[in-house]
């Protein structure tokens, strides 16, 4: 657990009874980041007429996995990352497996360097996410080129990386608030 600053308990050692309702509440709070990704991917897969829906779906999923893997790994375990990646994969029509692989890389890097990420400034974390987004988007482009045996334009991949980089600060602020409030299982 990194950078958790809870208010000191008035009566340490005294906790509410683990009723079914409380357990469900805790579960929902722990699953909130995963549900956010799944619902976002589902909504953005519909024909809403918004430009760059596929890119936005990737950006939201990557930013969410990166943030929660670094700041509360219990809310974004490897199993959860795999499940949401699989759902996103099935809802998208991109090169198979690339979305899932990218989310696992985001999770792996953020989880491995979570202590370092908690010490460095936000700008460095943002730069790390940007670098990963760029590399993984280009990886998706290479897989798409191999799959079709043609030279596709790398423009969509670069746009996807740009959307991911652009959306992270806003989502990061939202998640920082959610981590203290609605997505904190200890407040159930």
């Amino acid at each position: 657990m990194v950078t958790h600053r809870h208010a000191p308990d008035i009566h340490p050692g005294i906790a509410p009874r683990p009723t079914l309702r409380r357990r469900l509440d805790q579960l929902m709070r722990a699953l909130l980041p995963s549900l956010f990704i799944v619902i976002s991917a589902f909504v953005l897969s519909a024909g809403l007429g918004i430009p760059g829906q596929s890119e936005l779906a990737f950006g939201i999923a990557a930013s969410t996995v990166f943030f929660w893997s670094a700041h509360r790994p219990q809310s974004m375990t490897p199993f959860m990352t795999f499940c949401v990646g699989l759902v996103c994969e099935m809802l998208s029509f991109g090169p198979p497996g690339v979305f899932l692989f990218s989310l696992l890389v985001f999770h792996g890097v953020a989880h491995l360097w979570r202590y370092g990420l908690s010490r460095i400034s936000f700008l460095f974390a943002w730069a790390l996410l940007g670098g990963l987004a760029l590399v993984l988007s280009l990886f998706g482009w290479i897989i798409a080129c191999i799959g079709t045996l043609t030279f596709l334009s790398p423009g969509p991949s670069l746009f996807q990386a740009a959307v991911t980089i652009g959306i992270y600060p806003t989502l990061s602020a939202l998640f920082a608030w959610a981590r203290r409030t609605v997505a904190d299982p200890e407040q159930a």
């Binding site: 589902f42 909504v43 897969s45 519909a46 024909g47 809403l48 007429g49 829906q53 596929s54 890119e55 375990t77 490897p78 199993f79 990352t81 795999f82 990646g85 994969e89 099935m90 809802l91 998208s92 029509f93 991109g94 090169p95 198979p96 497996g97 690339v98 899932l100 692989f101 696992l104 999770h107 792996g108 989880h111 998706g140 482009w141 897989i143 798409a144 191999i146 799959g147 079709t148 043609t150 596709l152 334009s153 969509p156 991949s157 996807q160």
Partner: protein, 314 residues
């Protein structure tokens, strides 16, 4: 029950295991892409009612926006409509005259018309191409008889061809997709070419005769393409000739492209034509000479058993 160390070891192995699964999925996508696509299409097929529900507010909003934009310039819109109406009346007279002439000519020739193709109309549900490909998912309802290869048109022209079919939805590969290759005919120069998509809004023209180059502004229609495996249900359907595609434009010298008539960016209502029932060979009719089956290219030779050469010969 595992010990704490065992659980830690298992937890550490989870991520590499999931990486292996993801790489396996990438390999499966590269080698057996239709398997993954059919699974995705099955999921999208199941979610199609939800997609229709989610698209409803956008449809209402676009209608409302159209009304508001129309209200802001009613006088200008009326003037434009009056001018268009006059122009259409003139074209109506021309069309009636041509239809009469056409009917007379067909009557003189004892023309037997082709069967009218079946078609299904549907709303474009969602994009089904991802970042690199151009295709859409179309809601066509249950009990349709659409097969891969059927042509999809919007109100203005050719949009693409069906590649996969589900219970309630079909996937349409747009004409500007990288994998799209459509045989076309150029109406003014009477040349043939292949229209190849490249991901841009304007598909390229390739494989045209070098002594009969496409002319700027000439109309492009589809060329006749017979079904490769006969007309059995389930086979890839052929394509009829004469469907409107667009006009020729040179983006730079020597690089002709097609400016499509269809709205490739925002397809809404799309019709999918099933030409399987349209018999281009024509029905049997009295007075017509029945076509004989084609002669084999290499007639079978009579079987001659192997004989030993007689000594002294050669």
């Amino acid at each position: 029950m595992l010990s704490i160390q065992g659980r830690h070891a298992l937890a550490k192995l989870m991520l590499p295991f999931f990486f292996v699964l993801a790489i396996g999925l990438i390999m499966l996508g590269l080698t057996r892409r239709p398997v993954v696509d059919s699974a995705r299409l099955a999921l999208a097929d199941g979610l199609s009612p939800a997609y229709r529900l989610m698209a409803a507010p956008e449809t209402v909003f676009s209608q409302w926006k159209q009304s508001v934009v129309g209200l802001t310039d009613i006088a200008g819109e009326n003037a434009r409509l009056r001018a268009e109406n006059q122009k259409l009346r003139r074209w109506y007279d021309v069309a009636v005259a041509l239809a009469n002439e056409n009917a007379q000519l067909k009557a003189s020739l004892h023309w037997i018309p082709d069967n009218a193709p079946n078609y299904v109309s549907g709303h474009a549900l969602r994009d089904a191409g991802g970042l690199y490909w151009r295709s859409i998912l179309l809601a066509v309802g249950e009990d349709h008889d659409i097969v891969p290869g059927d042509v999809a048109l919007d109100a203005a022209g050719l949009l693409g061809r069906v590649t996969e079919t589900g219970n309630r939805t079909v996937r349409i590969l747009m004409i500007n997709d990288d994998a799209s290759r459509i045989p076309v005919m150029l109406t003014a120069s009477r040349g043939n070419a292949i229209m190849a998509g490249d991901g841009s809004p304007y598909p390229r023209l390739i494989y045209y005769a070098q002594d009969n180059r496409p002319v700027e502004g000439e109309r492009v229609v589809t060329g006749e393409q017979p079904a490769p495996d006969g007309r059995e249900h389930g086979a890839f359907a052929g394509m009829p000739g004469g469907l409107v595609v667009g006009t020729v434009h040179y983006v730079r010298p020597g690089s002709p492209v097609v400016v499509p008539e269809a709205s490739l960016d925002h397809p809404d209502i799309v019709r999918v034509f099933n030409y399987m029932s349209a018999d281009h060979a024509g029905p049997d009719a009295p007075g017509r000479v029945r076509l004989m089956p084609p002669m084999p290219v290499a007639p079978e030779l009579p079987f001659v058993p192997f004989q030993k050469p007689i000594r002294g010969q050669g």
